[in-house]
């Protein structure tokens, strides 16, 4: 049993969103659809929910000269387009058979970005909204269950206008979950909240999603949300899914430069391969030599280094296991809460993240000299 999504939706002459992934339904997990805003994440979610129809043909409206056929080719293939959405063996959408199941028949739970609670109904009536096919006794049971689960006791009789952002989110979740959906679709579930509430609800939402045991897809552009909510993650950039994998994997080993930038990899350095032996590669980055682990073919690569993996020393350390020592000049210091982001010029720009204490102990200041140390294993290589 799997949810298979393979379709495209042309939004404009410049943006065609291509979805091509599948999610196992056997062991319900949370899949994060991650990417910068405008990448087409919500469009994919809406197509899955039946709120929007994917294209029936690879070229739904005559294309101007501007868009190249190549951009389609890397997705599903211009000629062999067969759009489909399958839930197990149930067909939700099929471009060849011209099947499109309306949202009412998909039995999904959809959480809108601004929650879209019915303003004229009380919390309880909102939760009961999708339950009209049940007997009134069953309805009462289901409402009680949801009220219990999401701790809405005191809010039952209130209207959405009287609720705080966090409360609205809980009510919207309760409403989506009450009919026991087969698939939960969450569109930026936390973005409508203020920062403190968001912090607090992030962990809570993860626990709830684990409890429900419903396959879930979460759309977000927020790295922290992706990290804290997801098991699996698909990165969508400019309408294309660039990488699918477990959340830690995508964050530490981005498949390409665009993904690296999207997941906030601070240092993405173009490098030239000097030697490559026994999975140890020597690279030339801006005239400096770096040793990294990997065995990519080709003469050019990108070296990705997380800022927190860069260690700073006042003097070059003697006898240390880390392979890469780079002398550099500090070009900038930016404090980020308890941490300080240090930008260096080592012949190429390099960003390091250190604590405020470390900054004081080392006496880091702009223009000062330091040695940056990076373990070979902390450098992730991407083919160029």
């Amino acid at each position: 049993m799997a949810l298979v999504a393979s379709f495209q939706k042309k939004l404009s002459s410049r943006l065609t969103v291509v979805a091509d992934f599948s999610i196992s339904l056997e062991s319900p997990s949370v899949m994060v659809l991650f990417g910068p805003s405008g990448a087409g994440k919500t469009t994919i979610l809406r197509c899955l929910g039946g709120l929007e129809r994917p294209d029936l043909s690879p070229n739904p409206f005559p294309k101007g000269k501007g868009s190249s056929p190549l951009s389609l080719g890397e997705g599903l293939g211009e000629r062999s387009y067969h759009g489909k959405i399958l839930y197990g063996d149930e067909i939700w959408f099929d471009s060849e058979q011209q099947i499109w199941l309306p949202p009412q028949k998909r039995r999904i739970g959809y959480l809108f970005q601004e929650y879209a609670l019915f303003p004229h109904l009380t919390v309880e009536q909102n939760i009961a909204y999708g339950l009209s096919h049940l007997s009134s006794r069953e309805q009462r049971g289901r409402i009680a269950e949801m009220v219990e689960l999401l701790k809405l006791y005191s809010l039952r009789g209130q209207r959405p206008g009287e609720l705080s952002g966090g409360e609205r989110q809980r009510v919207a979740l309760a409403r989506a979950l009450a009919p026991k959906p087969r698939l939960l679709l969450l569109d930026e579930p936390l973005s409508a909240l203020d920062a403190p509430t968001r912090e607090q609800l992030r962990g809570e939402l993860r626990r709830l999603l684990l409890d429900f045991q419903i396959p879930t897809i979460v759309v977000t552009h927020d790295r922290l949300e992706a990290l804290s909510l997801g098991d699996q993650m698909a990165v969508l950039i400019a309408g294309r899914i660039r990488q699918v994998g477990s959340v830690p994997e995508v964050f530490s080993r981005p498949a390409d430069v665009a993904v690296a930038e999207a997941v906030g990899m601070e240092n993405v350095l173009p490098a030239r391969v000097l030697t490559s032996e026994h999975e140890i590669m020597t690279l030339d980055v801006g005239g400096r030599e770096l040793t990294a682990v990997g065995s990519l073919s080709g003469s050019g690569v990108f070296a990705c280094i997380r800022a927190e993996d860069v260690i700073l020393y006042k003097e070059a350390p003697v006898s240390i296991s880390a392979r890469n020592h780079l002398r550099g000049r500090i070009t900038g210091l930016h404090s980020e809460g308890p941490l300080v982001r240090v930008t260096l010029d080592c012949g190429f720009p390099l960003t390091a993240l250190v604590t405020r204490q470390a900054q004081e102990e080392l006496g880091l200041s702009e223009g000062g000299q330091v040695v940056a140390v990076i373990k070979a294993a902390a450098i992730h290589l991407i083919a160029r």
Binding site: L51, P103, Q104, K105, Y110, Y129, G130, A176
Partner: protein, 223 residues
């Protein structure tokens, strides 16, 4: 004061409003949500009575319901009566004349319902028609009230169309507006003034109550 004419006017306005609600709600729903390319043509037709002289509209209605027309013949066969110069004939004309005053507030109310609420309802498994009654209509209540009030008040005050289609038959087609005209023609200014003042009063009260209830500026405005 011409109570017979006033009673007739109110009766005509109530009946017209009722019929317009039955016709106007589905029409407004369609106009709000249809994606048909030529929808604007229908919109233009619905809005025509706003700009046409009442005599033009009345003239065509008179032709359309006359004994020569299919509609007139059908009605005659059915009831062995004629539509022109009858209350029923007036009703047909009033419905057409006040149509935009019902449809436009409804369309603007239906269209301003947050699209996501409608989609949320669909995602919860609720059909289009039930979504209309459970989400769109309750949230459009101010618009519905506006439509009712405007249709009623507009029908109450119509003159040209009534004169063209209904003529001036006491108790049957002589509405308040016509009665005023009659009295003025007969130089009976006192009677005309009383009825006129009464109409002003009724219209003012109806509009004032609507504004008061809705607490929204421009609530009673057709677009």
């Amino acid at each position: 004061m011409d109570w017979v004419a006033l009673e007739l006017s109110v009766r005509l306005a109530l009946a017209t409003t009722l019929i317009l609600l039955v016709i106007g709600v589905p029409l407004a729903y369609w106009l709000s949500f249809s994606r048909w390319r030529l929808k604007f043509l229908v919109e233009a037709v619905v809005a025509l009575p706003l700009v046409l002289p009442p005599t033009v509209l009345g003239f065509y209605v008179l032709i359309a319901i006359g004994p020569q027309s299919p509609l007139g013949q059908f009605y005659q066969a059915l009831t062995s009566r004629m539509l022109p110069f009858s209350f029923q004939g007036l009703l047909v004309a009033s419905v057409l004349y006040s149509l935009p005053f019902t449809v436009q507030p409804l369309v603007s109310a239906f269209s301003s319902v947050d699209r996501r609420l409608i989609e949320a309802s669909w995602a919860l498994g609720v059909s289009h028609i039930k979504t209309f009654f459970r989400v769109i209509l309750p949230l459009s209540l101010p618009g519905v009230i506006t439509a009712i009030v405007l249709s009623f008040a507009h029908t109450l005050g119509e003159f040209g169309v009534v004169l063209m289609v209904g003529g001036n038959i006491e108790g049957i087609t002589r509405t308040a507006a016509i009665s005023i005209y009659d009295h003025v023609q007969a130089l009976n200014y006192e009677a005309a003034g009383q009825t006129a003042l009464f109409l002003v009063g009724v219209s003012f009260v109806v509009l004032a109550v609507t504004y008061g209830v809705q607490r929204r500026v421009w609530a009673v405005w057709p677009w």
